[in-house]
């Protein structure tokens, strides 16, 4: 691509440091991710791959260093912050609530409320909206076999 030089990384990590007590998890680690790029991070056990991902996805807070999204510095206080900024994470342990259904899991921690009176006053969730949107996402990913978004995650096969 000829425009590479003008492109700005969508995700950028600068000089991240993360320690757990005396153990150094990330030792001044930097990363740049450009639009359309697929990046694989490879390393030995304990190299800090997961810690890096967790820092970028808000599950851990780095001790020092900077994370930039579209060139703007951000500081994630929780994984919700990262998700609102557009960073989704699939964790190693899959990190789902197995007894909850697919739609509830996809919207866990960022549930949609019904518009209007019921949503505002009674805090009613928009079950239907969440189901429809989860199904759209599934279809977009080419998963056509899952029809019922109210199925509990633990009843699904695979892993």
């Amino acid at each position: 691509m000829s425009t590479v030089t003008t492109l700005q990384p969508i995700v950028q990590a600068k000089d991240l440091l993360k320690t757990f007590g005396r153990v150094v998890g990330l030792n001044h680690c930097s990363l740049e991710l450009y639009p359309g790029e697929v990046l694989a991070v490879i390393g030995d056990n304990g190299a800090g791959k997961s810690t890096l991902i967790k820092c970028i996805s808000g599950a851990e807070t780095p001790d020092s260093g900077e994370i930039l999204i579209d060139g703007k510095p951000v500081s994630f206080k929780s994984s919700i912050d990262a998700r609102t900024a557009g960073i989704e994470t699939v964790y190693q342990n899959l990190a789902v609530a197995p007894a909850l259904d697919i739609a509830s899991n996809m919207y866990l921690g960022r549930e949609l409320r019904k518009p209007g009176f019921f949503g505002k006053v009674f805090r009613q969730l928009d079950h239907k909206g969440m189901k429809v949107k989860s199904k759209d996402e599934m279809t977009r990913l080419g998963i056509g076999t899952l029809q019922d978004m109210s199925q509990a995650v633990e009843t699904l096969s695979g892993g």
């Binding site: 808000g58 599950a59 929780s78 994984s79 919700i80 912050d81 998700r83 994470t89 964790y91 342990n93 899959l94 990190a95 789902v96 609530a97 197995p98 007894a99 909850l100 509830s104 866990l108 921690g109 960022r110 549930e111 409320r113 009674f122 805090r123 009613q124 969730l125 079950h127 998963i143 076999t145 509990a152 633990e154 009843t155 699904l156 096969s157 695979g158 892993g159």
Partner: protein, 343 residues
């Protein structure tokens, strides 16, 4: 991933499901609606007791059962919320009694106006629940141990505060007795206490199903780490559950005053374990994350029906204890089986 990639794979999958047959479908249905099994037992029990004594189905008797269930039924709402988070509360009955003693005595001894005494009692119950929540979340102690300790603390506080004395009917402020007031609904005689209990079920069933907080209660009980990675503040949810539980228990204490027409430190000695019994029979998992309030309601009513039906059949109460014991074991065994769902 073993997602079927072609039509033949999908067919093979469906064949596989069919082959596993009837029990498989039962397991699937129970997984989705864990309250189906206690409901079935409840219907069978009601048929049997009607055959044993035709007075069982009389409106007067059914009304009596509901009145008998109202206290433990209300307490079991709080217990359900707590067990859904994979916790347990052994101090529920003690909190309810503490709150009821505070309501009765602040009005009678300190001369606080009735409505004010009621509010003070509700606050004390809420604070007691919050103390449990604080110990569970901040000191990271297991709920079983925390509430075993606070069971002793709250019971002792109640005894010390009550100075071993019961506040009787005529000494009670009128507002504290309203839960005992009777309403005629056709042939049925319902107390305000019964209505209040049902109201608690309706409100919290709605909250669990239809609010984000409700979903978070399930998620925290199911897998706290996953919930935390999803951005849920696990400790905040846990603390709020024990605190809200305390408020529900204080309301249960209010219902208790109306039901027994007195406030005594020695009422409902079995409420702690009875509430757990109702929750477990209702199909809520002691491992957290799965269960419903409708199940708990059926569980509480089932316990009341068995107790009443056996008395009407002229059997000793020992048989009631035996029957409930068997029901509890069956319910937990069923839960273990349901949790081994297909994969």
């Amino acid at each position: 991933m073993s997602t079927p990639t072609s039509a033949s794979d999908a067919e093979a999958l469906i064949d596989n499901i069919d082959n596993k047959g009837f029990m498989f479908r039962v397991q699937g249905a129970l997984h989705r609606f864990p309250w189906l099994s206690p409901l079935l037992v409840l219907i069978i029990a009601m048929i049997v007791f009607t055959l044993l004594n035709n007075r069982f189905l009389l409106p007067a008797n059914l009304s009596l059962i509901m009145q008998q269930v109202s206290i433990v039924g209300a307490i079991a709402v709080a217990q359900t919320l707590i067990i859904l988070t994979a916790g347990i509360d052994l101090s529920v009955g003690a909190i309810a009694v503490l709150a009821s003693m505070v309501m009765a005595k602040t009005a009678f001894d300190q001369g606080v106006p009735g409505p004010m005494a009621l509010i003070i009692g509700l606050i004390v119950g809420t604070a007691a629940g919050a103390l449990n929540g604080f110990l569970v979340t901040r000191l990271k102690l297991p709920p079983f141990i925390v509430t075993l300790g606070t069971l002793g603390i709250f019971t002792a506080l109640t005894l010390i505060y009550a100075t071993g004395r019961t506040v009787r009917d005529t000494e009670l402020a009128p507002i504290l007795k309203v839960m005992g007031n009777v309403i005629k609904l056709g042939p049925f005689t319902i107390t305000w206490g019964v209505i209040m209990m049902i109201l608690l079920y309706v409100i919290f069933a709605y909250v669990l199903r239809n609010t984000a907080w409700g979903k978070h209660v399930y998620a925290v009980g199911d897998d706290p780490q996953a919930a935390s990675l999803a951005g849920i503040r696990v400790n905040r949810v846990l603390f709020s559950v024990y605190t809200v539980g305390g408020l529900i228990l204080a309301i249960a204490g209010w219902i208790t005053i109306g039901r027994v027409n007195a406030a005594s430190p020695n009422v409902i000695p079995d409420a702690n374990l009875d509430s757990i019994t109702a929750v477990v029979i209702g199909g809520t998992s002691l491992f957290g994350g799965r269960g419903t309030l409708i199940g708990t309601f059926i569980g509480a009513v089932l316990v009341g029906v068995v107790s009443n039906g056996l008395s009407l059949a002229g059997l000793d109460q020992a048989y009631k204890i035996l029957a409930i014991g068997i029901l509890v074991i069956t319910a937990v065994a069923l839960d273990q089986w349901i949790r081994k769902v297909r994969s």
